[in-house]
Amino acid sequence: MVDSVNWDWTTGEKLVSDINEWKASYNWVEEPYASPDGEKVAAIVNTDEAEFNVCENGKAWEIEAPFEKAWCLRFSPDGRLTVIASMDSAWTVVADGEPWEESYDFVWDMRFSEDGKTIAAAAQQEGEYMMVKDGVPWENSFGFITCMALSPGGENTAATVQTVPLGQAEVFKFQKGCYTAAVNGDAWDKNFVNVWNMSFSPDGSKLAAEVRLNLYDYTIVVDGQPWEQTFGCVWEPIFHPEKGTVVSPVRTAEGWTIAEDGNIIWDSRFAQVWHQKISPDGNKLAAIVATEFGRWTVAVDGKAWGVTFGDMVTDAVFSPDSSRVACIGTENQIYKIVVDGKVWNSEFDMIWKPVFSPDSKDVIVKIEKDGKRTFALNNKIWNRMCDEVWDPVFSPDGSKILCRTVEDGKYYRRIVPVSEF
């Protein structure tokens, strides 16, 4: 995680850049992105026919030649501005204006370690596929790659890879298993019919994934070894941060539930279970569940909240002290915030993932209402309606909130005391 202690938590309002002014210099300015600390705002800009650059706080990168194409502009968690760009018909990752030394026929799925110090992406070169970490490609390449992953600390990369070539409609060969996972380019020994949604352990040393053993039997594989138990379906596994076990939603004859290392650990059964989360202290397990067909909520340790929603429930998150859970619930396309099973009375057109304060007492969300975006803190809507905002960030002591906004085309960085909301 990025340490925000050294960010400027005292300057109340700063006009960082007037994006309107950029538009006079370029043919077009694409959607802006704000840096995690709020000090920078950037966008891909078109400088001429088939010529692109990145504009950061009103100043274009100084690059040897314009990019032929550029996409996926993102700030890394540690504030580096990165983009996937094409130069001389070859693609690479460019961070703060500096491209990786190697380039490829295509690059996509850029991702960052939690501290932002490691950047990884998928790459294709002459029809062969691999992952690239900080510019260094896997030594082995494959005919197909998907479901890429980067360990939280950035130590290792992984992906589903195809190890057996398949001709057109070779269905029986397919059913013998042509896919596995590769970690840093080294494929597991055992093949599977399918491998999906892999997850690294917190220290990056272990890898778990969903697999299909044949067309009908699903299970979880950890470092190439399947659980003994099979299920009618499974969803994405996660590692328990304390115990090192693997926890996954599984579908039994009685319904969906949660299994740990293959053993069912919830007594309750649901019409659906997914997006399980383990609390920071490792003592609780929450998941998004359907208590019955078409009714959605959150269950903590197998016990569902009383409130349910008809459309969907998303973005469940534990508080830092593990005592609380917040999520988004939608009914008839109206979005609401739910914290600990209690629904805020405000209704929105869209809500982003809830953010808890460091002491777990406050909850803030980015919201959209009537075409404008702003924040809602503890069920109170901020009085400033904006064209765009980015996820709010609490100060380390929880007393202030970093608000990154675009208003009338101008990008502002504001530090707002919680008490002023």
Binding site: E30, E31, C72, A122, F144, A169, V193, N194, W196, M312
Partner: protein, 443 residues
């Protein structure tokens, strides 16, 4: 008009069916049927089977029955009698050869179009029964080769055509680049979080029909909409696993699709002109996952075009001159009731619209849908022969252009037009909208 006779092979060879049958054991059949009957079906199947009085009213609803000289074996009740009725009568003790034949019947002689259900006095839905038969055949490992391969593609790539992730993004960027020659500032915004719309397509568009993405991008840009397309799996809304009976992969596909929209925080998904995909996102796939309705609202292209025209976001410069007729796709007409909106759109775009008869919810199926066309070349002659009635229906309009706002219909109707030597061309609505809309001047 005298239509040519399409000859159908007496015995169709299909490795998926034939080799699947060879591997099948009696024990497995009985276990599978027991699993499906006890765990996956219930009152609905029982009520359907026990209620049918074999009145035959479903027969005249079926294009295959009508096209095959009213051969009773092609009637909906006849197809149920040849498959599920035998399974039930024999308590699941059926042979591998029976499962092979049942799979061919359920997968290639029924489109699950539900026209027959509309005419049944008891509301029996033979399509549901045929899909249960397909489920049994999937669990027995006996499915037609090409659609099984497509289901495998869905399982690996989450798209229908084995399109790799880089190929997908590259195709979007290629179409964006090409379209900029016509509209210099056009964008296909990838992964734009918080956009109003996510546009999703089916696998064949990037694979064979990239021009449709160009047209859609052009329409979105001219309309000035805040839209995006995902660069990651979930962009394909189609689902042939739904039609092989692999419900688990169907659900997985739909989860990818809707979670792409959730991740991008869009308010609506607009999908291209596809019927079966609409069924999979609006009815079957979402419901397998326990979403009673699409968790993120879905808009079929017909509804989207209707909105664009009624709000004036897209204006017509000059109406299309050639005479056109409309094939109503089953899944968006009987499944969603979009027939009047389709007519509004076509009348706004075209000067000379001619109805085929019957039409709207009574329209005959294209005989490509329901996964039938995806069973591939071995069954093509049978597919075309089984829809002579459609060929006549089209020919009787005298129209030059046949509009089919559905991909499977589109491909199937091209085979019908070719097979029966009809003097007409098949188009999507977007082909015509793109041609006749007001376009901005290039500065």
């Amino acid at each position: 008009m005298v239509l040519p006779v399409i000859k159908v092979e007496d015995k169709i060879i299909d490795d998926g069916l034939d080799k699947g049958m060879e591997k099948l054991t009696q024990d497995r059949i009985e276990n599978v049927i027991d699993q499906v009957m006890s765990g996956e079906t219930g009152a609905r199947l029982k009520a359907y089977v026990e209620t049918c009085v074999h009145c035959g009213l479903c027969s005249d609803a079926c294009h295959a029955y009508l096209s095959r000289d009213r051969d009773p074996k092609f009637s909906p009740a006849g197809k149920v009698k040849r498959t599920m009725s035998v399974i039930l009568k024999k308590g699941g003790k059926v042979t591998p050869a029976f499962i092979r034949d049942a799979s061919e019947i359920a997968s290639t002689e029924c489109n699950a179009c539900k026209r027959c259900a509309m005419y049944c006095p008891f509301g029996i839905d033979p399509a549901y029964i045929m899909l249960v038969v397909r489920r049994i055949c999937h669990l027995c490992g006996v499915t037609p080769l090409y659609i099984q391969d497509t289901a495998h593609s869905h399982a690996v790539t989450q798209n229908q055509m084995w399109v790799k992730e880089d190929e997908w993004i590259d195709t979007l960027q290629w179409q964006e680049e090409d379209a900029r020659e016509e509209m210099p500032n056009l964008r296909i915004p990838l992964d734009k979080e918080g956009a109003d719309f996510m546009y999703s397509v089916i696998g064949p568009e990037p694979k064979f029909l990239a021009g449709l993405i160009y047209q859609a991008a052009y329409i979105f840009n001219v309309a000035g909409l805040n839209w995006t397309m995902p660069s990651f799996p979930g962009w394909d809304n189609s689902d042939m696993a739904m039609y092989t009976g692999d419900n688990e992969i169907m659900g997985r596909n739909k989860r990818f699709h809707f979670e792409a929209a959730q991740r991008l925080k869009v308010k609506r998904i607009v999908m291209g002109e596809c019927g079966h995909a609409f069924r999979s996102v609006y009815d079957m796939g979402n419901r397998w996952l326990s979403w009673a309705m699409p968790p993120v609202p879905m808009v079929h292209a017909i509804e989207f075009y209707y909105e664009l025209l009624t709000t004036g976001k897209i204006k017509v410069k000059e109406k299309y001159k050639k005479s056109v007729t409309l094939h109503d796709p089953c899944n968006v007409v009987r499944g969603r009731g979009l027939h009047e909106k389709a007519r509004y759109v076509i009348n706004e775009l075209c000067e000379d619209f001619r109805e085929m008869h019957p039409n709207r919810e009574h329209n005959y199926c294209c005989n490509a849908g329901g996964g039938v066309i995806n069973c591939g070349p071995p069954f093509k002659n049978k597919r075309v022969a089984n829809n002579r009635v459609k060929a006549k229906q089209c020919a009787d309009t005298g129209a030059e252009i046949l509009i089919t706002p559905c991909h499977n219909c589109h491909s199937g109707m091209e085979d019908i037009v070719l097979g029966y030597k009809l003097d007409m061309h098949v188009k999507f609505i977007s082909d015509i909208m793109y041609e006749v809309m007001e376009k901005p001047e290039i500065g």
